[in-house]
Amino acid sequence: MSTTTINTQKVNFNVFRFNADEDYLPYYENYSMDVTSEEVVLDILNRIKWDHDGSFSYRRSCRHGICGTCAIKVNGRVTLACKESMTDMIEVFGNELTIEPLSKKRAIKDLIIDKADFWEKHEQVTPYLDTEIDETPTAENIVTPAQAETLDEADLCIQCGACHYACPVVEISDEFMGPAAFAAAYRFEADIRDGNESRLTDVNKMGSGVWDCVKCFECADACPKEINPIEKIGKLHNMLFQSGKAESNIATRHAVGFERSIKRNGVLDEGSLVLYSELAGIVKHVPVALKMFSKGKIVPPWGIIKSDNLDEIQKLVKSSSTAKF
Protein backbone atom coordinates (compact mmCIF):
# COMPACT_ATOMS: atom_id res chain seq x y z
CA MET A 1 0.00 0.00 0.00
CA SER A 2 1.42 3.38 -0.93
CA THR A 3 1.45 6.19 1.55
CA THR A 4 1.21 9.89 0.81
CA THR A 5 3.19 12.29 2.93
CA ILE A 6 1.26 15.41 3.83
CA ASN A 7 3.68 18.33 3.99
CA THR A 8 2.92 21.39 6.05
CA GLN A 9 4.17 24.89 5.30
CA LYS A 10 3.80 28.23 7.02
CA VAL A 11 2.09 30.73 4.72
CA ASN A 12 1.38 34.40 5.24
CA PHE A 13 -1.95 35.54 3.82
CA ASN A 14 -2.75 39.19 3.14
CA VAL A 15 -6.48 39.25 2.79
CA PHE A 16 -8.54 42.07 1.26
CA ARG A 17 -11.15 43.33 3.70
CA PHE A 18 -13.87 45.82 2.92
CA ASN A 19 -17.41 46.51 3.96
CA ALA A 20 -19.13 48.91 1.56
CA ASP A 21 -21.64 49.85 4.28
CA GLU A 22 -18.98 50.93 6.79
CA ASP A 23 -15.54 51.35 5.26
CA TYR A 24 -14.29 54.30 3.24
CA LEU A 25 -11.28 52.35 1.99
CA PRO A 26 -10.39 48.65 1.89
CA TYR A 27 -7.59 47.30 4.08
CA TYR A 28 -5.59 44.09 4.28
CA GLU A 29 -5.71 41.70 7.23
CA ASN A 30 -2.81 39.39 7.84
CA TYR A 31 -3.28 35.72 8.72
CA SER A 32 -0.39 33.35 9.22
CA MET A 33 -1.31 29.67 8.92
CA ASP A 34 0.15 26.22 8.55
CA VAL A 35 -1.03 24.95 5.19
CA THR A 36 -1.00 21.30 4.17
CA SER A 37 -0.29 20.05 0.65
CA GLU A 38 -3.79 18.58 0.59
CA GLU A 39 -5.60 21.89 0.82
CA VAL A 40 -7.16 24.06 -1.87
CA VAL A 41 -7.57 27.85 -1.67
CA LEU A 42 -11.19 27.50 -0.53
CA ASP A 43 -10.05 25.52 2.53
CA ILE A 44 -8.00 28.55 3.53
CA LEU A 45 -10.95 30.90 3.11
CA ASN A 46 -13.05 28.58 5.26
CA ARG A 47 -10.38 28.40 7.94
CA ILE A 48 -10.11 32.20 8.05
CA LYS A 49 -13.84 32.41 8.57
CA TRP A 50 -14.20 29.51 10.98
CA ASP A 51 -11.02 29.94 13.02
CA HIS A 52 -10.24 33.66 12.87
CA ASP A 53 -13.07 35.98 11.89
CA GLY A 54 -16.65 34.93 11.38
CA SER A 55 -17.45 38.16 9.57
CA PHE A 56 -15.10 37.33 6.68
CA SER A 57 -17.26 37.06 3.55
CA TYR A 58 -16.87 35.22 0.27
CA ARG A 59 -19.03 33.24 -2.12
CA ARG A 60 -18.91 29.47 -2.32
CA SER A 61 -21.28 26.74 -3.32
CA CYS A 62 -20.61 23.49 -5.14
CA ARG A 63 -16.96 22.92 -4.15
CA HIS A 64 -16.52 20.96 -7.39
CA GLY A 65 -15.45 23.62 -9.89
CA ILE A 66 -18.79 23.67 -11.67
CA CYS A 67 -20.94 26.42 -10.13
CA GLY A 68 -18.43 29.21 -10.83
CA THR A 69 -19.23 30.98 -7.57
CA CYS A 70 -15.89 31.07 -5.77
CA ALA A 71 -13.64 32.81 -8.35
CA ILE A 72 -11.19 35.19 -6.63
CA LYS A 73 -7.67 36.51 -7.21
CA VAL A 74 -4.53 35.20 -5.54
CA ASN A 75 -1.47 37.39 -6.15
CA GLY A 76 -3.33 38.89 -9.10
CA ARG A 77 -4.08 35.52 -10.62
CA VAL A 78 -7.74 34.68 -11.12
CA THR A 79 -8.60 31.32 -9.72
CA LEU A 80 -11.52 29.14 -8.72
CA ALA A 81 -10.84 28.83 -4.99
CA CYS A 82 -12.26 25.31 -4.80
CA LYS A 83 -10.12 24.01 -7.65
CA GLU A 84 -6.75 25.61 -7.00
CA SER A 85 -4.30 23.58 -4.95
CA MET A 86 -2.33 25.47 -2.31
CA THR A 87 0.77 23.52 -3.27
CA ASP A 88 0.59 24.96 -6.79
CA MET A 89 -0.01 28.47 -5.46
CA ILE A 90 3.02 28.25 -3.15
CA GLU A 91 5.13 26.83 -5.96
CA VAL A 92 4.32 29.81 -8.20
CA PHE A 93 4.21 32.66 -5.70
CA GLY A 94 6.07 31.49 -2.59
CA ASN A 95 4.81 31.78 0.97
CA GLU A 96 3.44 35.34 0.83
CA LEU A 97 0.00 35.27 -0.73
CA THR A 98 -2.42 38.12 -1.31
CA ILE A 99 -6.09 37.20 -1.53
CA GLU A 100 -8.38 39.67 -3.27
CA PRO A 101 -11.80 39.80 -4.92
CA LEU A 102 -12.10 39.42 -8.71
CA SER A 103 -12.52 43.18 -8.99
CA LYS A 104 -11.47 45.48 -6.17
CA LYS A 105 -13.56 48.36 -7.46
CA ARG A 106 -16.68 46.18 -7.46
CA ALA A 107 -16.18 44.81 -3.92
CA ILE A 108 -19.25 44.85 -1.67
CA LYS A 109 -18.05 42.83 1.30
CA ASP A 110 -14.53 41.37 1.41
CA LEU A 111 -14.26 38.93 -1.54
CA ILE A 112 -17.88 39.36 -2.63
CA ILE A 113 -18.31 41.61 -5.65
CA ASP A 114 -21.23 43.10 -7.51
CA LYS A 115 -21.18 41.12 -10.77
CA ALA A 116 -23.95 43.17 -12.41
CA ASP A 117 -21.68 44.41 -15.23
CA PHE A 118 -20.82 40.81 -16.11
CA TRP A 119 -24.45 39.79 -16.41
CA GLU A 120 -25.47 42.94 -18.29
CA LYS A 121 -22.83 42.33 -20.90
CA HIS A 122 -23.69 38.69 -21.11
CA GLU A 123 -27.30 39.69 -21.76
CA GLN A 124 -26.25 41.96 -24.62
CA VAL A 125 -25.10 39.06 -26.83
CA THR A 126 -28.49 37.26 -26.79
CA PRO A 127 -26.97 34.28 -24.97
CA TYR A 128 -29.59 31.73 -25.90
CA LEU A 129 -30.78 29.83 -28.96
CA ASP A 130 -32.73 32.34 -30.98
CA THR A 131 -34.85 30.48 -33.50
CA GLU A 132 -38.31 29.86 -34.87
CA ILE A 133 -39.58 26.70 -33.22
CA ASP A 134 -41.81 24.33 -35.10
CA GLU A 135 -44.40 23.55 -32.45
CA THR A 136 -45.54 20.38 -34.14
CA PRO A 137 -42.29 18.83 -35.39
CA THR A 138 -42.46 15.67 -37.41
CA ALA A 139 -38.83 14.71 -36.92
CA GLU A 140 -36.10 15.11 -34.35
CA ASN A 141 -33.92 18.21 -34.55
CA ILE A 142 -30.64 16.35 -34.88
CA VAL A 143 -27.26 17.96 -34.23
CA THR A 144 -24.48 15.74 -35.52
CA PRO A 145 -21.33 15.17 -33.45
CA ALA A 146 -19.35 17.10 -36.07
CA GLN A 147 -21.73 20.08 -35.79
CA ALA A 148 -21.49 19.95 -32.00
CA GLU A 149 -17.68 19.99 -32.28
CA THR A 150 -17.77 23.41 -33.90
CA LEU A 151 -18.84 24.91 -30.55
CA ASP A 152 -15.27 24.15 -29.54
CA GLU A 153 -16.21 23.72 -25.89
CA ALA A 154 -17.59 27.26 -25.62
CA ASP A 155 -20.66 25.62 -24.04
CA LEU A 156 -18.58 24.56 -21.04
CA CYS A 157 -18.54 28.11 -19.66
CA ILE A 158 -19.61 28.23 -15.99
CA GLN A 159 -19.88 32.04 -15.96
CA CYS A 160 -17.49 32.37 -13.06
CA GLY A 161 -16.24 35.73 -14.37
CA ALA A 162 -12.56 34.77 -14.16
CA CYS A 163 -11.79 35.82 -17.75
CA HIS A 164 -14.00 38.90 -17.54
CA TYR A 165 -12.23 40.32 -14.51
CA ALA A 166 -8.80 39.23 -15.78
CA CYS A 167 -9.37 41.29 -18.95
CA PRO A 168 -7.43 44.58 -18.87
CA VAL A 169 -9.92 46.21 -21.25
CA VAL A 170 -12.90 45.37 -19.01
CA GLU A 171 -10.94 46.96 -16.16
CA ILE A 172 -10.62 50.32 -17.94
CA SER A 173 -13.58 50.46 -20.32
CA ASP A 174 -17.20 50.29 -19.22
CA GLU A 175 -18.39 49.62 -22.76
CA PHE A 176 -16.25 46.60 -23.61
CA MET A 177 -18.36 43.45 -23.46
CA GLY A 178 -15.53 41.23 -22.33
CA PRO A 179 -14.26 37.75 -23.16
CA ALA A 180 -17.02 35.76 -21.43
CA ALA A 181 -19.78 37.54 -23.34
CA PHE A 182 -17.92 37.05 -26.61
CA ALA A 183 -17.36 33.36 -25.89
CA ALA A 184 -21.12 33.10 -25.26
CA ALA A 185 -21.84 34.93 -28.51
CA TYR A 186 -19.64 32.45 -30.34
CA ARG A 187 -21.29 29.51 -28.58
CA PHE A 188 -24.66 30.45 -30.13
CA GLU A 189 -23.34 31.74 -33.46
CA ALA A 190 -21.64 28.37 -33.96
CA ASP A 191 -24.79 26.46 -33.09
CA ILE A 192 -26.44 25.08 -36.22
CA ARG A 193 -29.92 25.53 -34.64
CA ASP A 194 -29.52 29.25 -33.99
CA GLY A 195 -31.18 31.69 -36.36
CA ASN A 196 -30.27 35.08 -34.87
CA GLU A 197 -29.66 37.57 -37.68
CA SER A 198 -27.96 40.41 -35.87
CA ARG A 199 -25.76 38.96 -33.11
CA LEU A 200 -22.67 38.54 -35.29
CA THR A 201 -22.71 42.08 -36.63
CA ASP A 202 -23.69 43.52 -33.23
CA VAL A 203 -20.72 42.06 -31.39
CA ASN A 204 -18.41 43.09 -34.22
CA LYS A 205 -19.48 46.73 -33.94
CA MET A 206 -16.80 49.31 -33.30
CA GLY A 207 -16.47 50.85 -29.87
CA SER A 208 -18.10 48.31 -27.63
CA GLY A 209 -17.45 45.16 -29.53
CA VAL A 210 -14.93 42.55 -30.20
CA TRP A 211 -12.41 44.80 -31.96
CA ASP A 212 -11.31 46.47 -28.73
CA CYS A 213 -9.68 43.22 -27.63
CA VAL A 214 -5.96 43.94 -27.08
CA LYS A 215 -4.94 40.31 -27.71
CA CYS A 216 -3.18 39.91 -24.37
CA PHE A 217 -4.38 36.30 -23.83
CA GLU A 218 -5.14 37.00 -20.15
CA CYS A 219 -8.53 35.33 -20.67
CA ALA A 220 -6.93 32.21 -22.13
CA ASP A 221 -4.78 31.76 -19.04
CA ALA A 222 -7.59 32.74 -16.65
CA CYS A 223 -10.32 30.33 -17.72
CA PRO A 224 -10.62 27.40 -15.28
CA LYS A 225 -12.51 25.44 -17.93
CA GLU A 226 -9.89 26.04 -20.64
CA ILE A 227 -12.46 27.52 -23.00
CA ASN A 228 -9.88 29.90 -24.46
CA PRO A 229 -12.17 32.93 -24.96
CA ILE A 230 -9.70 34.83 -27.15
CA GLU A 231 -9.79 32.01 -29.66
CA LYS A 232 -13.58 32.48 -29.82
CA ILE A 233 -13.09 36.22 -30.33
CA GLY A 234 -10.91 35.39 -33.33
CA LYS A 235 -13.56 33.03 -34.63
CA LEU A 236 -16.22 35.75 -34.36
CA HIS A 237 -14.00 37.93 -36.56
CA ASN A 238 -13.49 35.08 -39.02
CA MET A 239 -17.25 34.38 -39.17
CA LEU A 240 -17.91 38.03 -39.94
CA PHE A 241 -15.53 38.04 -42.88
CA GLN A 242 -16.69 34.63 -44.11
CA SER A 243 -20.31 35.77 -44.00
CA GLY A 244 -19.49 38.76 -46.20
CA LYS A 245 -21.22 41.01 -43.63
CA ALA A 246 -18.09 42.92 -42.61
CA GLU A 247 -18.52 46.66 -42.81
CA SER A 248 -15.59 48.79 -43.82
CA ASN A 249 -14.24 50.41 -40.67
CA ILE A 250 -10.84 51.01 -39.15
CA ALA A 251 -10.74 47.61 -37.44
CA THR A 252 -11.81 45.56 -40.45
CA ARG A 253 -9.51 47.48 -42.79
CA HIS A 254 -6.67 46.94 -40.32
CA ALA A 255 -7.19 43.16 -40.48
CA VAL A 256 -7.65 43.11 -44.26
CA GLY A 257 -4.69 45.47 -44.66
CA PHE A 258 -2.31 42.70 -43.65
CA GLU A 259 -3.44 40.56 -46.56
CA ARG A 260 -3.09 43.49 -48.98
CA SER A 261 0.39 44.19 -47.77
CA ILE A 262 1.49 40.57 -47.79
CA LYS A 263 0.22 40.20 -51.37
CA ARG A 264 2.26 43.19 -52.43
CA ASN A 265 5.44 42.75 -50.41
CA GLY A 266 5.38 39.45 -48.51
CA VAL A 267 6.29 41.52 -45.50
CA LEU A 268 4.16 44.23 -43.96
CA ASP A 269 4.37 47.80 -45.17
CA GLU A 270 3.70 49.43 -41.81
CA GLY A 271 3.08 52.94 -43.09
CA SER A 272 0.68 51.86 -45.83
CA LEU A 273 -1.20 49.64 -43.34
CA VAL A 274 -1.87 52.58 -41.03
CA LEU A 275 -2.91 54.76 -43.98
CA TYR A 276 -5.27 52.12 -45.40
CA SER A 277 -6.79 51.48 -41.93
CA GLU A 278 -7.20 55.12 -40.93
CA LEU A 279 -7.98 56.81 -44.27
CA ALA A 280 -8.53 60.50 -43.40
CA GLY A 281 -7.94 59.69 -39.72
CA ILE A 282 -4.25 59.43 -40.58
CA VAL A 283 -3.81 63.10 -39.68
CA LYS A 284 -3.82 62.35 -35.97
CA HIS A 285 -0.74 60.18 -36.41
CA VAL A 286 1.26 62.88 -38.20
CA PRO A 287 3.04 64.41 -35.17
CA VAL A 288 4.35 61.04 -33.94
CA ALA A 289 5.06 59.93 -37.51
CA LEU A 290 7.24 62.98 -38.14
CA LYS A 291 9.25 62.25 -35.00
CA MET A 292 9.60 58.62 -36.04
CA PHE A 293 10.65 59.64 -39.54
CA SER A 294 13.36 61.91 -38.15
CA LYS A 295 14.72 58.95 -36.15
CA GLY A 296 14.81 56.61 -39.14
CA LYS A 297 11.80 54.62 -37.98
CA ILE A 298 9.62 54.99 -41.06
CA VAL A 299 10.42 53.31 -44.35
CA PRO A 300 8.51 54.67 -47.39
CA PRO A 301 6.64 52.13 -49.57
CA TRP A 302 9.38 52.22 -52.21
CA GLY A 303 12.00 51.40 -49.59
CA ILE A 304 10.34 48.23 -48.29
CA ILE A 305 12.52 45.16 -48.70
CA LYS A 306 10.16 42.59 -50.17
CA SER A 307 10.29 38.90 -49.26
CA ASP A 308 12.37 36.67 -51.53
CA ASN A 309 10.29 34.29 -53.68
CA LEU A 310 7.35 36.71 -53.46
CA ASP A 311 5.62 34.82 -56.28
CA GLU A 312 5.16 31.85 -53.92
CA ILE A 313 3.46 34.06 -51.33
CA GLN A 314 1.19 35.60 -53.94
CA LYS A 315 0.25 32.18 -55.24
CA LEU A 316 -0.63 31.01 -51.72
CA VAL A 317 -2.69 34.11 -50.97
CA LYS A 318 -4.67 33.41 -54.13
CA SER A 319 -5.18 29.70 -53.53
CA SER A 320 -5.69 29.65 -49.76
CA SER A 321 -7.97 32.62 -49.08
CA THR A 322 -11.20 31.81 -47.28
CA ALA A 323 -12.51 35.29 -46.45
CA LYS A 324 -14.22 38.14 -48.29
CA PHE A 325 -14.09 41.89 -47.88
Binding site: I172, W211, E218, N238, A255, E259, I262, K297, T322
Partner: protein, 293 residues
Protein backbone atom coordinates in the same frame (compact mmCIF):
# COMPACT_ATOMS: atom_id res chain seq x y z
CA UNK B 1 28.76 22.98 -26.84
CA UNK B 2 29.27 23.61 -30.56
CA UNK B 3 28.57 26.93 -32.18
CA UNK B 4 24.90 27.87 -31.93
CA UNK B 5 23.17 28.39 -35.26
CA UNK B 6 19.59 29.47 -35.91
CA UNK B 7 17.29 30.42 -38.75
CA UNK B 8 16.40 34.05 -37.97
CA UNK B 9 12.84 35.20 -38.60
CA UNK B 10 13.30 38.95 -38.24
CA UNK B 11 9.65 39.93 -38.53
CA UNK B 12 8.65 43.15 -40.25
CA UNK B 13 9.25 45.67 -37.46
CA UNK B 14 13.00 45.01 -37.21
CA UNK B 15 13.33 46.07 -40.84
CA UNK B 16 11.13 49.14 -40.55
CA UNK B 17 10.10 50.93 -37.34
CA UNK B 18 12.69 49.41 -34.99
CA UNK B 19 15.95 49.34 -37.00
CA UNK B 20 17.85 49.50 -33.70
CA UNK B 21 16.44 46.10 -32.83
CA UNK B 22 17.93 44.54 -35.98
CA UNK B 23 21.28 46.25 -35.38
CA UNK B 24 21.51 45.18 -31.76
CA UNK B 25 20.43 41.61 -32.56
CA UNK B 26 23.28 41.25 -35.03
CA UNK B 27 25.77 42.96 -32.70
CA UNK B 28 24.88 40.67 -29.79
CA UNK B 29 24.85 37.53 -31.94
CA UNK B 30 28.36 38.36 -33.12
CA UNK B 31 29.59 38.91 -29.55
CA UNK B 32 28.07 35.63 -28.41
CA UNK B 33 29.34 33.84 -31.54
CA UNK B 34 25.83 32.79 -32.51
CA UNK B 35 25.28 32.29 -36.24
CA UNK B 36 21.99 33.63 -37.58
CA UNK B 37 20.83 32.61 -41.05
CA UNK B 38 18.21 35.16 -42.04
CA UNK B 39 15.04 33.76 -43.58
CA UNK B 40 14.79 36.33 -46.37
CA UNK B 41 11.92 34.37 -47.97
CA UNK B 42 9.69 34.77 -44.90
CA UNK B 43 6.44 36.70 -45.09
CA UNK B 44 4.73 38.66 -42.32
CA UNK B 45 3.40 36.41 -39.51
CA UNK B 46 0.04 38.20 -39.73
CA UNK B 47 0.56 39.78 -36.30
CA UNK B 48 -2.71 38.25 -34.99
CA UNK B 49 -4.63 40.53 -37.36
CA UNK B 50 -4.44 38.56 -40.60
CA UNK B 51 -5.58 35.73 -38.30
CA UNK B 52 -8.76 37.74 -37.63
CA UNK B 53 -9.41 38.14 -41.33
CA UNK B 54 -8.41 34.76 -42.67
CA UNK B 55 -7.20 32.15 -40.21
CA UNK B 56 -6.45 29.44 -42.76
CA UNK B 57 -4.38 31.74 -44.95
CA UNK B 58 -2.35 32.79 -41.92
CA UNK B 59 -1.63 29.14 -41.13
CA UNK B 60 -0.48 28.48 -44.69
CA UNK B 61 1.83 31.51 -44.77
CA UNK B 62 3.34 30.80 -41.35
CA UNK B 63 3.80 27.13 -42.26
CA UNK B 64 5.71 28.31 -45.33
CA UNK B 65 8.03 30.38 -43.13
CA UNK B 66 8.64 27.41 -40.86
CA UNK B 67 9.21 25.14 -43.88
CA UNK B 68 12.14 27.36 -44.88
CA UNK B 69 13.67 26.97 -41.40
CA UNK B 70 13.17 23.22 -41.74
CA UNK B 71 14.98 23.28 -45.10
CA UNK B 72 18.01 24.67 -43.26
CA UNK B 73 17.49 21.99 -40.58
CA UNK B 74 17.67 24.76 -37.97
CA UNK B 75 15.67 25.94 -35.01
CA UNK B 76 13.82 29.12 -35.93
CA UNK B 77 14.61 32.06 -33.70
CA UNK B 78 12.24 35.02 -33.52
CA UNK B 79 12.96 38.50 -32.17
CA UNK B 80 9.36 39.66 -31.80
CA UNK B 81 6.89 38.28 -29.26
CA UNK B 82 4.02 38.43 -31.74
CA UNK B 83 6.01 36.62 -34.45
CA UNK B 84 6.84 34.03 -31.78
CA UNK B 85 3.18 33.60 -30.84
CA UNK B 86 1.87 33.28 -34.36
CA UNK B 87 4.63 31.00 -35.59
CA UNK B 88 4.64 28.75 -32.53
CA UNK B 89 0.83 28.68 -32.56
CA UNK B 90 0.87 27.56 -36.19
CA UNK B 91 3.30 24.78 -35.31
CA UNK B 92 1.18 23.78 -32.31
CA UNK B 93 -1.99 23.57 -34.37
CA UNK B 94 -0.43 21.72 -37.29
CA UNK B 95 1.43 19.25 -35.07
CA UNK B 96 -1.80 18.46 -33.23
CA UNK B 97 -4.09 17.98 -36.21
CA UNK B 98 -3.17 15.62 -39.02
CA UNK B 99 -6.13 16.90 -40.98
CA UNK B 100 -5.15 20.56 -40.73
CA UNK B 101 -1.54 19.71 -41.52
CA UNK B 102 -2.64 17.83 -44.63
CA UNK B 103 -4.82 20.73 -45.78
CA UNK B 104 -1.97 23.21 -45.28
CA UNK B 105 0.55 20.92 -46.98
CA UNK B 106 -1.77 20.57 -49.96
CA UNK B 107 -1.40 24.34 -50.46
CA UNK B 108 2.34 24.35 -49.77
CA UNK B 109 2.68 21.54 -52.31
CA UNK B 110 1.66 24.03 -55.00
CA UNK B 111 4.94 25.84 -54.44
CA UNK B 112 7.03 22.74 -53.84
CA UNK B 113 7.29 23.07 -50.06
CA UNK B 114 6.20 20.87 -47.18
CA UNK B 115 5.66 21.57 -43.49
CA UNK B 116 7.12 18.65 -41.55
CA UNK B 117 7.20 19.89 -37.97
CA UNK B 118 10.93 19.24 -37.54
CA UNK B 119 12.10 22.73 -36.51
CA UNK B 120 11.73 24.15 -33.03
CA UNK B 121 10.61 27.76 -32.72
CA UNK B 122 12.02 29.91 -29.99
CA UNK B 123 12.35 33.57 -29.10
CA UNK B 124 15.90 34.95 -28.91
CA UNK B 125 15.38 35.57 -25.18
CA UNK B 126 14.70 31.90 -24.53
CA UNK B 127 17.43 30.83 -26.97
CA UNK B 128 19.92 32.73 -24.83
CA UNK B 129 18.54 31.24 -21.62
CA UNK B 130 17.92 27.67 -22.80
CA UNK B 131 20.74 27.15 -25.30
CA UNK B 132 23.50 29.68 -24.60
CA UNK B 133 23.10 29.83 -20.84
CA UNK B 134 22.95 32.79 -18.49
CA UNK B 135 26.00 31.62 -16.53
CA UNK B 136 28.09 31.80 -19.69
CA UNK B 137 26.62 35.18 -20.56
CA UNK B 138 27.44 36.46 -17.08
CA UNK B 139 31.08 35.48 -17.53
CA UNK B 140 31.23 37.55 -20.71
CA UNK B 141 29.84 40.74 -19.14
CA UNK B 142 32.48 43.49 -19.25
CA UNK B 143 30.28 46.44 -18.24
CA UNK B 144 27.94 45.24 -15.49
CA UNK B 145 24.80 47.38 -15.41
CA UNK B 146 25.01 47.58 -11.65
CA UNK B 147 24.12 51.26 -11.36
CA UNK B 148 20.71 50.75 -12.99
CA UNK B 149 17.27 49.80 -11.75
CA UNK B 150 15.83 48.07 -14.78
CA UNK B 151 12.12 47.37 -15.21
CA UNK B 152 11.42 44.18 -17.19
CA UNK B 153 8.43 44.42 -19.52
CA UNK B 154 7.73 40.88 -20.69
CA UNK B 155 5.18 41.40 -23.47
CA UNK B 156 2.06 39.20 -23.58
CA UNK B 157 2.90 37.02 -26.53
CA UNK B 158 6.07 35.53 -25.06
CA UNK B 159 4.36 34.40 -21.88
CA UNK B 160 0.72 33.79 -22.83
CA UNK B 161 -0.97 31.49 -23.57
CA UNK B 162 1.02 29.60 -20.91
CA UNK B 163 0.28 26.25 -22.50
CA UNK B 164 2.02 27.29 -25.71
CA UNK B 165 4.96 28.90 -23.91
CA UNK B 166 5.45 25.82 -21.75
CA UNK B 167 5.38 23.34 -24.61
CA UNK B 168 7.63 25.47 -26.84
CA UNK B 169 10.48 26.29 -24.47
CA UNK B 170 12.80 24.33 -22.19
CA UNK B 171 12.35 26.92 -19.44
CA UNK B 172 8.66 26.93 -18.56
CA UNK B 173 7.48 30.38 -17.59
CA UNK B 174 4.55 31.12 -15.33
CA UNK B 175 2.66 34.00 -16.90
CA UNK B 176 1.64 35.32 -13.47
CA UNK B 177 5.18 35.29 -12.16
CA UNK B 178 7.58 35.24 -15.11
CA UNK B 179 11.32 35.24 -14.40
CA UNK B 180 13.22 34.97 -17.71
CA UNK B 181 13.73 38.68 -18.31
CA UNK B 182 14.48 39.32 -14.62
CA UNK B 183 17.11 36.58 -14.81
CA UNK B 184 18.60 38.20 -17.91
CA UNK B 185 18.78 41.60 -16.19
CA UNK B 186 20.55 40.03 -13.23
CA UNK B 187 22.98 38.21 -15.54
CA UNK B 188 23.81 41.59 -17.10
CA UNK B 189 24.59 42.91 -13.63
CA UNK B 190 21.51 45.11 -13.30
CA UNK B 191 18.93 45.35 -10.54
CA UNK B 192 15.40 44.32 -11.42
CA UNK B 193 12.33 46.39 -10.64
CA UNK B 194 9.30 44.44 -9.51
CA UNK B 195 6.07 46.16 -10.53
CA UNK B 196 2.51 45.08 -11.20
CA UNK B 197 2.47 45.85 -14.92
CA UNK B 198 5.58 43.90 -15.88
CA UNK B 199 3.58 40.98 -17.28
CA UNK B 200 0.64 43.08 -18.49
CA UNK B 201 -0.41 44.33 -21.91
CA UNK B 202 1.11 47.44 -23.58
CA UNK B 203 -2.03 47.97 -25.70
CA UNK B 204 -0.27 47.76 -29.06
CA UNK B 205 -2.77 45.57 -30.87
CA UNK B 206 -5.71 47.92 -30.33
CA UNK B 207 -3.87 51.16 -31.00
CA UNK B 208 -5.77 52.02 -34.16
CA UNK B 209 -9.24 50.69 -33.35
CA UNK B 210 -9.37 51.51 -29.61
CA UNK B 211 -6.82 54.32 -29.14
CA UNK B 212 -7.94 55.38 -25.69
CA UNK B 213 -7.91 51.92 -24.13
CA UNK B 214 -4.58 51.28 -25.77
CA UNK B 215 -3.03 54.53 -24.50
CA UNK B 216 -4.22 53.90 -20.92
CA UNK B 217 -2.53 50.50 -20.90
CA UNK B 218 0.69 52.06 -22.23
CA UNK B 219 0.52 54.82 -19.64
CA UNK B 220 -0.13 52.41 -16.77
CA UNK B 221 2.84 50.29 -17.78
CA UNK B 222 5.30 53.21 -17.86
CA UNK B 223 3.82 54.69 -14.68
CA UNK B 224 4.23 51.35 -12.89
CA UNK B 225 7.89 51.19 -13.87
CA UNK B 226 8.44 54.81 -12.81
CA UNK B 227 6.78 54.23 -9.46
CA UNK B 228 9.05 51.22 -9.00
CA UNK B 229 11.95 53.65 -9.28
CA UNK B 230 13.17 52.28 -12.61
CA UNK B 231 15.89 54.06 -14.56
CA UNK B 232 14.70 52.40 -17.73
CA UNK B 233 12.53 49.63 -19.14
CA UNK B 234 13.74 46.61 -21.09
CA UNK B 235 11.57 44.45 -23.35
CA UNK B 236 12.05 41.47 -25.67
CA UNK B 237 9.22 42.67 -27.94
CA UNK B 238 9.62 45.38 -30.61
CA UNK B 239 5.87 46.06 -30.59
CA UNK B 240 5.89 46.78 -26.85
CA UNK B 241 8.97 48.88 -27.53
CA UNK B 242 7.13 50.92 -30.14
CA UNK B 243 4.27 51.58 -27.75
CA UNK B 244 6.37 52.44 -24.71
CA UNK B 245 8.96 54.45 -26.64
CA UNK B 246 6.93 56.36 -29.24
CA UNK B 247 3.49 56.79 -27.65
CA UNK B 248 4.33 58.58 -24.39
CA UNK B 249 2.40 61.69 -25.48
CA UNK B 250 -0.88 59.85 -25.96
CA UNK B 251 -0.19 57.69 -22.91
CA UNK B 252 0.43 60.69 -20.65
CA UNK B 253 -2.72 62.38 -21.89
CA UNK B 254 -4.78 59.21 -21.37
CA UNK B 255 -3.78 58.67 -17.74
CA UNK B 256 -3.46 62.34 -16.82
CA UNK B 257 0.15 62.09 -15.77
CA UNK B 258 3.44 62.80 -17.55
CA UNK B 259 5.06 59.43 -18.16
CA UNK B 260 8.31 58.72 -19.96
CA UNK B 261 11.25 56.38 -19.49
CA UNK B 262 13.97 55.20 -21.85
CA UNK B 263 13.02 51.79 -23.25
CA UNK B 264 15.68 49.36 -24.40
CA UNK B 265 15.34 46.24 -26.46
CA UNK B 266 16.62 43.18 -24.65
CA UNK B 267 19.39 42.95 -27.24
CA UNK B 268 20.52 46.51 -26.53
CA UNK B 269 20.75 45.75 -22.83
CA UNK B 270 22.85 42.65 -23.46
CA UNK B 271 24.97 44.63 -25.92
CA UNK B 272 25.71 47.32 -23.35
CA UNK B 273 26.71 44.72 -20.78
CA UNK B 274 28.95 42.94 -23.28
CA UNK B 275 30.69 46.20 -24.13
CA UNK B 276 29.28 46.71 -27.66
CA UNK B 277 29.83 50.34 -28.73
CA UNK B 278 26.46 52.16 -28.26
CA UNK B 279 26.41 53.22 -31.93
CA UNK B 280 26.23 49.55 -32.98
CA UNK B 281 23.11 49.20 -30.84
CA UNK B 282 21.14 51.92 -32.62
CA UNK B 283 20.33 54.11 -29.60
CA UNK B 284 19.88 57.12 -31.89
CA UNK B 285 16.72 55.56 -33.33
CA UNK B 286 14.78 55.96 -30.09
CA UNK B 287 12.10 58.61 -29.64
CA UNK B 288 12.42 58.75 -25.85
CA UNK B 289 16.04 59.71 -25.45
CA UNK B 290 18.38 57.10 -24.04
CA UNK B 291 20.30 59.55 -21.93
CA UNK B 292 22.63 57.31 -19.95
CA UNK B 293 24.98 55.97 -22.65
Amino acid sequence: MGKLKYALFTGCTAKQSTPEQMMSTMAVAEKLDIELVELTEASCCGASHLQDYDDFLSLVLNARNIAYAEKHELTMVTICNTCQLNTAMTKHRLDNSADLKARVNEKLGEIGLEYKGTSKITHFLYAIIDDFGLDKLKEMVVTPLSQFNIAPFYGCHNIRPSELQNETHDTPENSYNPTSLDDLIIACGGMTVDYEEKNKCCGFHAELQAPKVSAILTGNAIAGAMDGNADWIVTPCPLCHLKLDTQTGHASEAIGREVSLPVLHMQQMIGLALGCPPETLGMKHHITKVDFV
